[in-house]
Amino acid sequence: MWEAELPVLRALRGRPGHAAAPGPSDEASVYARNPTASPEAWRRQRIEAFALLDDSRLLQSYRLATLILRDRDEAEDATQEAIARAWSSWETLRDRTRFDAWFDRILANVCRNRIRHVRTIRVVELDDAFDFPAADRHAETIARLTLEPAFARLSSDQRVIVVLRFWRDLQIEEIADRLGLPAGTVKSRLHYALKALRAAIESSEEAGR
């Protein structure tokens, strides 16, 4: 039933000018990782895994990239890149039940690389629906506007961790697992990032008084 709904599955059946499915030589390489799986079973596993990337999941990934990169065009490119990498390196996913975390990790790494290499940070546009605050929210608004440059100064690793912690609500151990880092490293980076962001907020409060 779900096959009819996803473009990815239509694509797997073949599109003009594109390879329809893994060729025998490619399959031979990936089957070699799991000799007990038949070619058909392997193909089905991959299809089922990428079926998780429905519109809702893609939007979540795009949002994650936007928050890390603070640039929607960059986030769009990063999400595209993550999709391509995930599909191409499917054989590197050892535990197929961890597809979701694995894709997050790829996306986070793509974002980190982009921050590191582009080294250009643009201020993200606020949603059109963003209402100008009432007077009693003045301090909060100033704090959030101050957060933008403070966040932009964080390292790429710090930004990824802040977003995973405070937007995804992941615990230290979960972030460490997703990023493949020791928990102590995640804790340390989050500590420094929070100190910087907290200083920005406190300073904005001082200015608002």
Partner: protein, 499 residues
């Protein structure tokens, strides 16, 4: 405008929640359709966007530049193996120990050792060394600098490389890494050997041996000069299944390995030598872990107190009969200890003057006047960070107390600094403009300075794009800039003078 103080964490949550996009771009569904129409196993991460094509152009330019240097090379270093600087030639390359200190039965390596080649930069005394084995980094780990300066002069390099097969270096998980290729099968590298090279000048490198223990990662080196001359620390295994390990050698060819006590799941990140012996440290999940040793071969775990629990030291120094630890952050700190166990705060840097103004310490080097200098960072005001932030120069006479000195513009995106006989060297990436837009990637940038304030590009440096600068280290006479391209190819640029 009064009221209860904001909850910072809630403010961050609210700020993040406010700025998420509400709609999925149609291009992502198209990208998914296109990507999944390809067979697996072929990494084509750069297709479909103009910026990606620029990256490929950069890669081609980098290769062309290196080839041009090679073709017009003025000097090709000869073959042969000798001992590390300051030692005598003895055995042929071979692993001679295991992590428990016993001799290792397996052969050192069955794969060939590419001979590093050396070419002189046109019109310069600087030399570019290349053709090392491609650098291996396990999945999710960034490349680490394999090059360390020796206190006795000269350099040692610990190069992790996959052996015994032809390796196709690709990117997976968006990180440079090595795939092991055996016939049609391609799998991520999960094991590697770490080859040891020595050099007198940073340009001419000689293969020495292989570190005992599979999957060895070296992060720091110290030298006693007496008995055991070289102590390297790091870990074996892949995170989170790591064991902090120390390797020792007196000649660079015969190495012994010992696991640090109580170090399962731990990665040793630094080691320093002083009158009290060796002190190594690691960032533990709840505190900084430290080990002490008199000779580098026998270590004892220290129960530390005083240091911040949240973060570990950036670097440790031998000061007098004890130790000092520098910790960076929004306020730079230096902690001091006489025994490596009990630590007290010796100095704390000035606070930021505003939320968008901060002063950070950075790499520390000895200054020509006999003191010390740190090249840190002074952050700019708010807004887009399209240009490098300023260099904040700190000075110190004792390594313990620092003065915030000059603030000067950065010549480019500088990754590391070190001292040079006639001044200082910095390396990173150049900043260039392309039609008014900041370029996606810069070329390798190396800058020299007599005073640390006025920087100029290194003369004769070719355009080498798509690089990550891993370190800039100096032994007091020479400087080595170590960098790697996106395919994992390791190169070193060595110089002996700044003019």
């Amino acid at each position: 405008m009064t009221g209860k103080p904001l909850d910072p964490e809630q403010a961050i949550r609210d700020w993040l929640a406010e700025s998420v996009p509400s709609q999925l771009p149609a291009s992502l569904k198209e990208a998914l359709e296109e990507a999944t129409s390809r067979p697996a196993g072929r990494v084509e991460p750069w297709s479909g966007a103009s910026s990606h094509r620029l990256r490929w152009a950069g890669r081609v330019a980098a290769v062309a530049a290196v080839l041009a240097i090679a073709v017009s090379g003025l000097y090709l270093f000869g073959h042969g193996r000798t001992a590390l600087p300051g030692t005598s030639p003895s055995a042929s390359p071979g692993a001679t120990g295991s992590p428990d200190g016993r001799p290792s039965p397996e052969p050192a390596t069955s794969s060939p050792w590419p001979e590093p080649t050396v070419v002189a930069l046109p019109g310069s005394t600087w030399r570019l060394a290349s053709a090392f084995p491609a650098l291996v980094a396990p999945d999710s780990e960034p490349y680490r600098s394999p090059v360390f300066a020796l206190a006795s002069g000269g350099f040692v390099a610990f190069v992790p490389t996959a052996s015994g097969q032809s390796s196709a270096y690709q990117s997976s998980d968006a990180r440079p890494m090595a795939f092991r290729t055996e016939g049609p099968t391609r799998t991520p590298v999960s094991s590697w050997e770490t080859r040891v090279y020595g050099s007198f000048d940073g340009a001419h490198w000689i293969g020495q041996s292989v570190l005992p223990g599979n999957t060895a990662t070296v992060t720091a080196v110290a030298q006693s000069g007496v008995g055991v001359e070289i102590v390297a620390v790091g870990w074996t295994g892949v995170s989170p299944n790591t064991t902090a390990t120390a390797w020792t050698s007196s000649d660079g060819q015969t190495w012994s390995a010992v696991a640090m006590p109580g170090s399962n799941g731990v990665e040793a990140v630094g080691v320093v030598h002083g009158p009290a012996g060796f002190l190594a440290w690691a960032n533990g999940p709840t505190s900084t872990l430290m080990w002490a040793s008199g000779d580098g071969t026998s270590w004892r775990r220290l129960e530390t107190s005083g240091l911040p629990a949240e973060v570990g030291p950036d670097c440790l120094f031998s000061v007098g009969d004890g130790w000092a630890a520098a910790i960076s952050g929004d306020k730079a700190q230096v902690w001091q200890s006489t025994d490596g166990a009990r630590w007290t705060l010796a100095w704390q840097g000035p606070a930021a003057t505003s939320p968008v103004e901060g002063y950070y310490m950075g790499p520390i080097a000895e200054s020509p006047d006999g003191g010390y200098v740190s090249f840190g960072e002074a952050t700019q005001g708010g807004g887009p960070l399209e240009f490098p932030s300023d260099i904040q120069i700190w000075t110190s006479k004792d390594l313990l107390h620092w003065t915030r000195a000059s603030r000067v513009p950065r010549p480019g995106w500088v990754d590391d600094f070190t001292a040079f006989p006639s001044g200082y060297v910095a390396a990173g990436q150049t900043v260039s403009q392309n039609g008014g837009e900041p370029s996606q990637y810069g070329s390798l940038g190396v800058w020299v300075s007599e005073d640390g304030e006025s920087w100029r590009p290194l003369a004769g440096l070719p355009s080498i794009a798509m690089v990550d600068v891993l370190s800039v280290v100096g032994d007091g006479a020479s400087v080595v800039v170590t960098f790697v391209d996106s395919s994992g190819n390791l190169q070193m640029l060595a110089g002996h003078e700044s003019k």
